[in-house]
Amino acid sequence: MARLASVADLEKLRQEIVAARDPGKTKIAICSGTGCRAYASEEVIAAFRAELDQRSLADKVEIVTTGCHGFCEQGPVLVIYPEEICYLKVKPEDVAEIIDQTLVGGQVIERLLYVGPDGEQKVKESEIPFYHHQQRLVFGSNRFIDPCNIDDYLALDGYRALAKCLTEMTPEEVLAEVDRANLRGRGGGGFPAGRKWAATRNAPGDIKYVIVNADEGDPGAYMDRSLLEGNPHSVLEGLVIGAYAIGAHLGYIYVRQEYPLAVDNLGRALEQMREYGLLGKDILGSGFDFEIEVHRGAGAFVSGESSALMSSIEGKVGEPRPKYIRTSISGVHGRPSNLNNVETWANVPLIINKGADWFTAIGTEGSKGTKIFSLVGKVNNTGLVEVPMGVSLRDIIFKIGGGIRGGKKFKAVQTGGPSGGVIPEEMLDLPVDFDALTQAGSMMGSGGMIVMDEDTCMVDVAKYFLEFLAEESCGKCVPCREGITQMLHLLRLICNGEGQPGDLELLEEIATMTKDCSLCALGQSAPNPVLSSLKYFRREYELHIEEKCCPAHVCKALVTYHIDPNKCRGCGACRRNCPVGAISGEKKQPHVIDLDKCTKCDTCFMVCPPKFSAVTKLSGSEQLPAAAPAGEQEQ
């Protein structure tokens, strides 16, 4: 393929691609995102290819290996077009039947369809409540695109926004449009992208850089990963547009090396861009030159902080810079550098194509557009969801997420990762936007949303985040390093049953200082998980300290495992599976756990058949129900 020398060439190519595609042809889009791959979706794909070949149907049916569709709970997911039939939890052994029944016979296979909690089946993807309540502007294209094929992106109007910028708009006009759209950074802080771009553009110096922050560090979130893996060109197009507006000729993508598929797909996408002349010298004959380099991050959460990330790009230790000077003035190699995260860049082509007015019509007063969340934890429908800003947490968790797993009770939702906080039930109607979440003591962060139920211990969650931060802090400044060390120590004491009166006040004292005095955003936000859980769940902390009770039965030192003699039927599953031989009992007789031997590994609790549910965890002054009167058990 020759380089495209003009926008006319690009449009001609696009028409050729579209004309060569038959919209009536059967197409099966199979999710090959990280979640579905873990469910062996690649074997499903291989089975389809083999089976179609064998029946000489390979040229009648097109298999598209796509990125993540979002509904990870029910993977592997596939959608058959043009009918939009959505099959879930597909296994390789289902493939022959799908071909026979659906592709050849035109019949829907009911057992592979979505079944709602009310038992109602849905055939079409868009009818499934999980998808129905979303607005997938950024993430929605994933399911139509093979990320390894730039033509798929072009067929969906890809690079049209770039072409428009290069030929119809001046850099100032592009910048003004993004500014007017009030696009706020999706990586955490929510700083307006337009203002950041302008600061870099106006900073003195001829050499400027644009950077994609794909160092998704929140340990419970994977939306940036799925976007990069599934639709890399949407991010790259945004980056080139930003570079044009800012006046940069070199861009960096900082991507975690733990995301090998994203690194591969990015590399291939860049090659294809170069081949088409969408990257390099004189892009689309506009005279604008731009190159992109990929830098793999070697694993450091703190490197997601913008100045630390820039140090990493220079090959140094990814420590935040202490200076009070913005990276838009002095970033990589001391030059003006504009950094935005993956999702922010992916919004740019949409804004250019559809206009700032369209964009600002979505969302709330202060937060425009949509946001992608990774909805995970104790929720029924684990997955990636994209909703307009301003939707309530309740709608996300209950309408889209399908409520809490196993009929348990909702307790809290954690947003913003290690920099965020927990939000209790009474605030579930909170509209999700940057400002409302910050006001509630949490933050938007990059979009992690971890749902917690009655079996989640809030003290343990705070301890969890501090353990993460103790390892991930760079260790340079005292408030962060020593503050986290001692806060973590206190939380460990509390979870261990060694808490004392005054510990909570001490936690608050350290937390307040660390928040105000730390050198970078990591330290300044590190106390949030502690402060927010203390604010909304103080009683739970007090129970740990005063009554040595962990009401959620999570803190190992405060929990003992017992077998309820009224429920145990002596099936022996626990005894056989106990790794330390702590359980004894005769067949068909109630079993007993030797507490001295028990390592609290949870295996007995997991293997006890649900119809008995005899293994019980107790904490504090909790006791087993009184033994049933003799004789009753026989009946």
């Binding site: 873990a38 090959g315 295996t603």
Partner: protein, 149 residues
């Protein structure tokens, strides 16, 4: 070994700013970073050894100790954590007799923790040599370990 190192350094034109990328490639090929390798990198890039050690002990991906033949990772991302990842980690740790980031004496297994693998629906997840498992109990783990050569 040093031939491999030189080849990787040359592929980046021995540029100082490519240090992290070079070390990543070496780590990928050798699976750990022995001292002579770090000295070679320092000499070739004309960087002091204290900086090389600073970088290699700062980023989590670099290993200064040899790795086991099999790798077991337990996801300790937040979603897995609230679904019981620490109990799972405890079971694996007990079965192998090592703590996270350690390698068994026979250099057979290295136990690692990772943060979010992007398959939260399976959580808590354990990965053995690339194969994903959802919340295995003690018996399952013992069987899996037994099967490894």
């Amino acid at each position: 070994m040093l031939g491999t190192v030189d080849r990787i350094i040359d592929s980046y034109g021995a540029r100082q700013e490519a240090l992290v990328q070079i070390l990543l490639d070496i780590q990928h090929e050798l699976r750990w970073l022995p001292r002579p390798v770090l000295e070679r990198v320092a000499a070739r890039l004309e960087l002091p050894l204290n900086l090389i050690y600073n970088v290699t002990t700062f980023y989590k991906h670099f290993s200064l100790v040899p790795q086991g033949r099999h790798s077991i990772s337990v996801c300790v991302g937040t979603a897995c954590h609230v679904r019981g990842a620490s109990r799972l980690l405890g079971r694996v740790s007990e079965a192998l007799g090592i703590k996270p980031d350690e390698t068994t004496a026979d250099e057979k297994f290295t136990l690692k923790t990772v943060s979010c693998l992007g398959c939260c629906a399976l959580g808590p997840v354990m990965v053995l040599d690339g194969e994903y498992m959802s919340n295995p109990n003690s018996t399952d783990i013992a069987e899996l370990i037994e099967k490894c050569e």
